[in-house]
Symmetry: D2
Subunit: 404 residues, 4 copies
């Protein structure tokens, strides 16, 4: 996570989070540890819980605790443990959070439910996940959002770097660790051509797969066409596909009806955001046999001997069966840190009880902090050019609606 290191170094002696009390609820891993330590180094006091009952790395939690951070998390929490840990982050007598860093919205939900008065003191929520953002928008529509919220999930750097490249870099890996598939010449259906689907397609194409895309959105469909991918319905290709990858964020994209038509040996997996993409319930029937052949690899057998390979139990393939590159985590962690700094230091009135995207200048700063890893050298605008373009020579360089 060198970008966070540069961030700390750039801060010099200054402590932009001086005195801030940050309550966090995220995965607790080596990488988030660097984030938490960075927040502390910038002046914050942190209390932290896990956003998932399985993902905590106990050694990391222990090391953070030893370093004086209050961490309430362990691998394999029960449901009750989970909420108890979250409660411990916010319910300390002598400690009221100024800032919320949430991943999925559970911490935010808990405060709404149990300690709504805390919001009086809270300067804002930083949320990174699709689910958490969805919940914030529901609150906002219901006029119940009572502090500013920063939507990190839809920042340029999150969407165009974390999401796209995380998938591009992990799809091959996830498939290779679970199967001995060769990609060259395989017919692959990718359901959904958003950033996740685009990443999967790019990687698979690089290894010689033949890719077909399904889409509901005509704009994304046209992008697929122009990039040389056939846009079809799943029904059209279902009998020919060697691999089917769900990348939609939708539910019931691959159903029993599809499974019944797949060819022998077809591999099915999910790179989308939830485990609803593949309708597994319809496969849990008498006539189909399930065989666990290795961790994360199930063979589903039809009465006629047909065998379909289901990976990662239909859950996110790259979380279970691949490593997520540090670079990708670094982009998001840096964005989260900057969003907290912005909310903490923003002058009164800049942010209202609404959901905001990160100011473009910060998105640009996050990108900037990651360029040294590529030994990349930016060109600086001359004064004359800045005048010509009518922008500040140090950015922001693009209007807010720019799509990249």
């Amino acid at each position: 996570m060198p970008a966070l290191m540069i961030l700390r170094k750039n801060a010099g002696g200054e402590k932009p989070l001086n005195g801030a009390k940050v309550a966090g609820c995220t995965h607790i891993t080596a990488q988030t540890a660097v984030l938490i330590e960075t927040l502390a180094a910038l002046g914050a006091q942190c209390r932290w819980a896990a956003c998932n009952i399985f993902s905590t790395q106990n050694a990391v939690a222990a090391a953070l605790a030893e370093g004086g951070i209050s961490v309430f998390a362990w691998k394999g929490e029960s449901e009750d443990d989970f909420w108890w840990c979250i409660d411990r982050c916010v319910a300390a007598d002598s400690w009221q959070p100024d800032l919320i860093l949430d991943d999925g919205g559970d911490l935010t939900h808990w405060i709404y439910k149990k300690y709504p008065n805390l919001f009086k003191n809270i300067k804002g929520i930083v949320e990174e996940s699709v689910t958490g953002i969805y919940r914030l928008y529901q609150l906002s529509k219901a006029n119940k959002l009572c502090v500013p919220a920063m939507n990190v999930n839809d920042s340029v750097t999150k969407q165009k770097f974390d999401t796209l490249y995380c998938c591009k870099e992990s799809i091959l890996d996830g498939l290779k660790r679970t199967t001995d598939i060769m990609f060259g010449g395989k017919q692959v259906v990718v359901c959904g051509y958003g950033e996740v689907g685009k990443g999967c397609c790019a990687a698979l194409k690089g290894l010689g797969a033949i890719i077909y895309v399904t889409e509901v959105d005509p704009i994304c469909a046209l992008q697929a066409c122009m990039n040389g991918l056939r846009v079809i319905t799943l029904h059209e290709m279902i009998k020919h596909a060697d691999i089917i990858i769900s990348c939609t964020g939708n539910k019931s994209v691959i159903t029993r009806e599809h499974f019944d038509q797949m060819k022998n040996g077809c591999i099915v997996c999910n790179m989308g955001h939830s485990n609803t993409e593949i309708d597994l319930s319809s496969l849990r029937t008498e006539e189909l046999k399930w065989q666990r052949v290795r961790p994360h690899v199930d063979h589903i057998l039809w009465p006629d001997g047909k065998r379909v390979v289901l990976l990662a139990e239909g859950r996110l393939l790259n979380l279970s069966c691949s490593t997520v590159p540090s670079f990708v985590l670094s982009v998001t962690a840096t964005t989260q840190a900057l969003a907290l700094i912005e909310l903490y230091n923003a002058p009164q009135g800049r942010y209202k009880q609404d959901i905001y995207l990160l100011p473009k200048k910060m998105d640009e700063y996050v990108a900037n902090l990651h360029l040294p890893m590529f030994d990349a050298h930016l060109t600086e605008l001359t004064d004359e050019q800045a005048v010509y373009l009518n922008i500040n020579k140090h950015g922001p360089f693009k209007p807010n609606y720019y799509r990249y």
Copy 2:
């Protein structure tokens, strides 16, 4: 332009532009003729001038006139002719425009200057060019924008299809028609990694060029890095480059200082938006000899015998030395037609004296009209899925800030 044909057909007997008086100022080519005829078929009366003194195809203008459209344009107009033609579009006693379709802002400018009263009657302006949009924002900032304006230039379909693929499809062609360059292994510097630069890089990479990118914006720079392109300053590579392509929209990107360091035989061209990208004035000096070796190909000779190849006089390479695919023109023309329909039919109050992006639903519709050319088949959301995603099953499918 099959999409415009489908648009007409989809309209059925209805005439969504019934009675609309459209004053237009665009290039006058076979493709815009289809647009104008489409507007007429949908009920509009049109008066048209050219936005460029050179680009009018006289036969097209004649054919339109014969079809009853009032066209004021010919190839090779003088400056005075140019403004006279524009004047004729708006200054008819018995004819006051309801809608303006502009490309570059000259028509809009003329009305502001000469007939500001006409704006009382005008329902809106549709503008497609970077320059025209820039002028509209200047008006808006100065509180002088007195009708709604639709920014077609920044619509998804314009940026992500017209701009990107037009450049991707024409850069190789432009270079091949002017030189006998082989792309494999050539070291190419692409200045700017926006949609234009991305398109050029994609095409050149496909043919085996080795590409280096210069950027001022760290986000675009990081995109280049992740896509496997070295981000450098022009200065670093200037002595090694075989080809230098300017794609910035900026001015003085390639200067005399750069030219003096280029190697013998280096090819220089411009794919950006204006002829300011290459600082040609500094090359018009005594000690440098200019040789016109073919149309659009100049050799500039240094006293020591070094020769630099300048294409298209530093103006847009693909306009002069390539064909623009109909598909690309079709995307923009369809968007323009829909923008006019929207402005004409919008209920009072939907649009104020401001600059708007095309409603997403229309962007999606433009994409939809182009899918049949690819024999692409969209998947339709089930009711259950639409509820799950909390969107209308016929779109719009994405939030406005979605970047594609």
Copy 3:
């Protein structure tokens, strides 16, 4: 043609073709002029005719003549002229050729037919074309080959550089200059996946076309599969193809039966070696109308209004409608020069009355002469490594059967 220049320079004062009399029959263009001048600079006396009645560049022929080379060729020769010119190259009383440089085998054929006694004096034939090689093998099988022949066509550099990259670099250009096709998302059938087909596929894939391959050879078919191309029969895809490109070297690959099933607007062209690939005779019938819409572009109209676009009259697209990069011509010309030098200087007995591939060391030398254009730096083997690999540290580096 910088490689030929380096070749001359490397020769220093030596004249490896000193006294050699070379009779040549090739296209006469600016590039072959450099070859002929190089042969002269290396000591040869040359007499030259054209191998094609149309391809002579008259200015080049004049310039060569002015430089003292005996050139018998002009653009637009009649059949009689053609053979008269060839005759003049060999039938001089005071001049008997030592070496033959042929392209297509007509010069060789003429000597066999008219002056077989000349072969007593001839040290060898260098032949570059598929057709010429075929004719030599026919002679050899009939035991009529009476001098050594060097098969330049099948040298590594010819096949793996000239053929592959010439096609890769020119297919897009040829299509763009004749049509305004956009490649993104187009469905293209490439008939034949040899070096020509591989080059076409690589270029088209780089621009986002969706490619299907037909093959008769299972090895080439499997290569296409592994590279992510669907291998189908032309019949399977004929109704869906946007573009069909013949690259087989075979005859009647695209027939009337195929044409009848093509969709409206389908584009058909030939990149293979002869004009037999497309069975045009079956299209010259009453019910089909032919329209010449531009040079090299014919529209063939079916009674129901269907229109098929035929490019370059079914002849080689890239010869008619594209430029061939100098680099590619340089590779072949350098190979020809080296083959002549080898035959002229080979010790008695090294070559018999047989057909030979270029010695690997010369293929490597040709490649070496072209590396400076890419600023490429070879690594030199250490003595220890050469011993380990059991090869000479200056090459040849590979066994003769190595495929590259």
Copy 4:
């Protein structure tokens, strides 16, 4: 291994290896088991040993034995065990081999050393490895080769499918399982641009790495140039490389001198044929510390804190840290089976005491057997076309020197 299944099925009731006694020495894995069983099904009696003391899958050996095959092999043999096992394959009183299937040449070597008389009875040797082929050529040069040998290693299918795609498919996997590297934008030096290097480069380029190639052979170097890769010496890039991959088949390609100049965090691995490519001995010194951070991942630490990551102890990365796709193994196993059949059934005199490449027709047959996995459909030549091309309509389709 579906191709072997099709081979068995195609044989119908015939047993082309009826009565053949095959002594084999290969890796003993699930895939070679299918080969051995296929040989048995085609009529052969087999006795088998392992060619490597570590690679035997004991369960496979047991299953083969249970099926009646004489297998002498287990995981973790001692040096003495190794030779004893080999001895058991050939030294049976009542059993003299007709055919040798060798991988590395140890079995062949043992017979030469201990039982030279057996060669009187042996119809030929089939050898697949680089090392084994090298040893056969040494024998041949010394006039000691006393039976025909079939060089499977240099068959088209081995080189152009097994070697190329095995590396292309496994390099990413090998790096991902051992590190959490992200490939996008990484600067990678690939030493050697043969089939192994070509495969690695293709895969890495697909994921956005920036690749530099080192080469000793100018032809391969020129191929790299044309494919858009910079050809440099390792020395030029050593300070900038993020990853260095050795693919040469040579020794001491990466030396201590290089290691001393690498940047902090540089990853070094070997995809070439032996563990001599990286000069590890020079790294086993006092001042460098070695840290085993995970299986197959060593960190080497310099006194100044610099850390270089060495994968797989410098041995073949893909053997240790990746899975080899069945498809690739299938190609080679099928080739081996056909080579044995050919040698066993060849009429007296077809093969002499020499080393042969597989007859092209068999190479084509191997390819053919693998096409069904891709649902690929070959085009059949018409009689007229076969006459035109002067080849048999069922192949072979190319001359022996064709390079693919």
